[in-house]
Symmetry: D2
Subunit: 337 residues, 4 copies
């Protein structure tokens, strides 16, 4: 960490600061220039509070050289994290395809979709039981009943299930879920993250609508700091000025997070764009960029289904697209050898 | 609401859609053009799910004419909401000044700051007991103990207190708090909003980092839909590409929300900019734009306080600035007459 | 186009508006609801000025159903535009690889890089002679001399050249350039676009830093409206809150623009990220998403070159990466069959 | 400037870098830490190319302590720039009100508006003769004829005129204009800026849609570096995700630019919001935040004018609002004493 002091700082405050820094087991390299004094801090600075230091009257600016996340950091954890769910793996060179409806609606719907996506090569079943909705008047999901229907579909197909949690009090209901999803609006619900770190199921953290890579990794750090190492990251688009697509898929997130951290990265082209016609090209792009998998919305009966977003594929389309994704992944692996 | 159908839509789907819309007590005005059919929907469309309709195969686009929020809407609630806290009012032409430290640290700190800000003309005492922190390694606030210190300061000065809640389970601790603050990261924590609607204390909702006006008002709608009409909105800056300031204060939010809704609007220049030197000009701007008040971070002892952000003012500066704010407010009121 | 009138509009103004619209050869379908009157306009509305209509006192909102661009519109030009440069094609299923240094520096540099990128499979040579620089004190490019060096390198290798124009007065110097590039800061330099439409060389328009798809296509429309149909679009990242990468590559631009328009689309991963380690994954993603080509910065001598950006690849890396890009493109074409 | 080297850098490259830096008359303070070497550069670093240094293989990051602009910098030019136009001043404690129509349409319109805004207290007449329009099919302004009408209105009222230039070749037409405006889309048209620096008329630079403060000041630096010190800055809103207003007025720009630089700052609430009802509150906010003036669109005959944007005020409204602005400015000045 580098601390740049203001011009002509108060000497007693400088000495105060240095004493405090040394008490935190940080070594100080001081460099006195014509206009500024620069303190280079050496040691474990990941636990120093950067806001706290910038706040000081004598400090002009603070710059981290080390990242503020440690458990999430590739530098201190060089191997890829591979998540094990039942007999399958997420990460480590495999292709994960999470597919299923936006909302769980009925037993018939879930069984139909689950069977179809499994046959098409999906590896995990997704479906929303608790739905975060902008309007209090919109359908809020089937809740606990939806979770039961997901489990029924798992029983029928063998596919592990991933579904979103919205608050701490729901945790007991998620004991038999395979992967717990943290939605974009909860990415910085620190209390929830801490609790999810105290249990052992894999946690998939969707990127906040306007979260930086660093903030996203700090959320993963919350889960890991509480003891759970099974974290998956899901890029689902960020909010920008462009309104043609619902969000802007940040494809660079894939290689950047692979470099900064060690987690599996999933791409969600359905939410990123809000348009089913864009799911295929963006899923292909995600895999070509090195993502470990994709999350895709699939519905069974577009003619009658009232709750399928415009971003959902029907079963037929999903089958066609997933074949291409699997084929691309296989090609890319063969090229590596 | 206007529904634009795609070219040459499937006739049975169109008829299906019309039947469904009529079952929702909406009247349909159909306009058949050369290239598109347009359905004008008349009646209470605020409870129609726009995503659901856009999702249909035959629909090209949907446009609301009516806003999706109803209780929060100025059109259905033409008078300003005035919040009563003890013997004071927020809104209705008064000037509210919420002041106090970022974090509650100690009894001495709270009593000192509370007395000073009261003397300087502040009307409400702020202070964080539960702190949302990006890093799991940063100080997370004094918690329940912090709430007790706030109450002590209230006892000492008579100032009502406002402080942030982070999750539903903390609600019982907030029973004796005067105004409950929902932080920017929780603006779309719908479960929390719903619970806050089930109690009667005023709720101040800070704008999410990348929330649109409509999303923000929908969050207020959540609270009102559950029964609590005492909502205050607080603009605290949005996230943009400009990184010189921590956030970008959206000053237009003040007149826009005054027009669209009926809530008191507070401006938080401290968090919006992250720089204490910008607090005065932005607080002045907020009041000139018609805000009902400001929220300002104030600390007592910048030389020794480790937890004061660079956005905090010291007691002396706050006194000087608050005098100007009160004077400006008085001038603007006199001009109106 | 749909015009939504305000509640209880002034009758003479409504009649005034209708007369004016009819004088523009637009048919009007009127739909009178309880709260609003809606006018559905049918005919060629692409030349109506939407701002002008929204400005009227009686108008609440205007919504286009038709796009404001016509020549650029896929609906009126269903076949892909294929650009012919010497004996090669851009678009139409081919893979275009534009490679070369950020700035033209010397004859030796240009010849070395040109030969190397040609051998590695690049199809077009890039290089900046006129450089848009944020600072007046930075190197502004070799100018006319730089153009001569590019032509020398073309003579040596046979590779067509693409380079950026910065103002109208430079046009005569570009007579012997193969593709004229309009930089991101000039995307809405309408005078320049109009002039480029009056000559016949292909024009590659880079997306403005915060340009919407529609604005970008309107810039292409300027060129086409003046008579030049040879337009190429280049996505080079947009400005967002994320500062780890220089810009955020908007990968969805590829399929979206393929759908809305008929131009070849090139991806520039070098400028989009500002980091050479991200060039490979993003170039791969671009091709997988359906781009017609990539534009990549390549330098010859990273140890001594002072003017190569951190986004440049060296010759060796480019060779390795380009092999992968060509192989991926071949694989994707084989899958289509 | 601080240069942070990568871990274990190549020694000969480090020595190469140091030699080069010293040749630029920069002194180097080296600080060797456990993990990184930090070079603190002292001297005039404003002319060092930061991109060029970051590009080096051995460099991890570069951080400026000094700003890259020099002439524009408050640190080297502590007094406020005051622009003299005829017998009036812009900056230096005065209130400048630029008012007039979006587009110059006719002699009658210009004379009517000019007389009315003068009577209402405006100090400068604005009006567009060359109009940057997104669509090639929209009205592009009256051009040279429009400039003549502006001059006629000046003759009639004595008000100085400000109007936008779009390309270098128009410069001769602007010889008799009082203030030359550079529009938002030309903020980084460096060739144009350089030419405007070679003449002596005041240049008002509008902020680019997604320009940072630093980029904006660098554009001012271009003008000053070519010899013209008469620069005015105009904040007109930036592009964000919020689409209710056309742009987001960044009110913090006023105090920030007052601190970083010495130019007069004008606020344009008409373009910033695109809504006439927001002009008053945002103009008031701008003045309260310390702006030197406002730029407001005013039209004469909203019922018949086809080219007035929804952001224009009519003559009556402008009169009422301007009275409030002048009164607020007077109040704020009296408070200072």
């Amino acid at each position: 960490m580098i601390v740049i002091l203001k011009q002509n700082p108060n000497a007693s405050q400088v000495s105060h600061l240095k004493t405090w820094l040394e008490s935190k087991n940080v070594k100080i390299h001081e460099s006195v220039g014509d206009s500024h004094i620069i303190l280079g801090l050496v040691g474990d600075t990941s636990k120093l509070d950067i806001d706290l230091i910038s706040a000081l009257d004598i400090v002009e600016d603070v710059k981290r050289v080390q990242e503020p996340y440690k458990n999430a950091n590739r530098k201190f954890h060089s191997e890829d994290t591979v998540i094990k769910v039942k007999d399958m793996q997420i990460g480590g060179g495999t292709l994960t395809v999470m597919a299923g409806p936006c909302s769980v609606e009925s037993e018939e719907q879930m069984i139909t979709v689950a069977k179809a996506v499994k046959e098409a090569g999906a590896t995990i079943l997704r479906g929303g039981a608790f739905k975060p909705r902008t309007s209090p008047y919109s359908f809020q999901g089937l809740g606990a009943e939806g979770l039961e229907l997901l489990k029924l579909a798992r029983l029928e197909t063998g596919l592990p299930i991933v579904t979103e949690i919205m608050e701490i009090s729901q945790l007991p209901l998620f004991e038999d879920v395979d992967i717990i999803q943290v939605g974009t609006r909860n990415m910085q619900n620190f209390n929830l993250l801490r609790e999810l770190g105290r249990q052992s199921k894999p946690v998939m953290i969707k990127r906040g609508m306007s979260a930086t890579y660093e903030e996203w990794l700090m959320s993963a750090e919350y889960v890991m700091a509480s003891g759970n190492e099974n974290v998956i990251l899901c890029e689902r688009g960020i909010r920008t000025f462009e309104s043609y697509t619902r969000n802007t898929l940040d494809i660079a997130a894939v290689p950047v997070l692979k470099k900064l951290s060690h987690f599996p990265i999933i791409i969600d082209p359905s939410h990123a764009t809000g348009k089913s016609s864009l799911v295929e090209p963006l899923a292909m792009a995600g895999i070509a960029a090195g993502a470990d998998g994709v999350m895709i919305e699939v519905h069974n009966d577009p003619e009658h289904a009232w709750c399928d977003g415009p971003q959902s594929l029907n079963l037929e389309n999903f089958k066609t697209i997933n074949k291409k994704l699997i084929s691309l992944h296989k090609f890319l692996k063969s090229e590596e050898e």
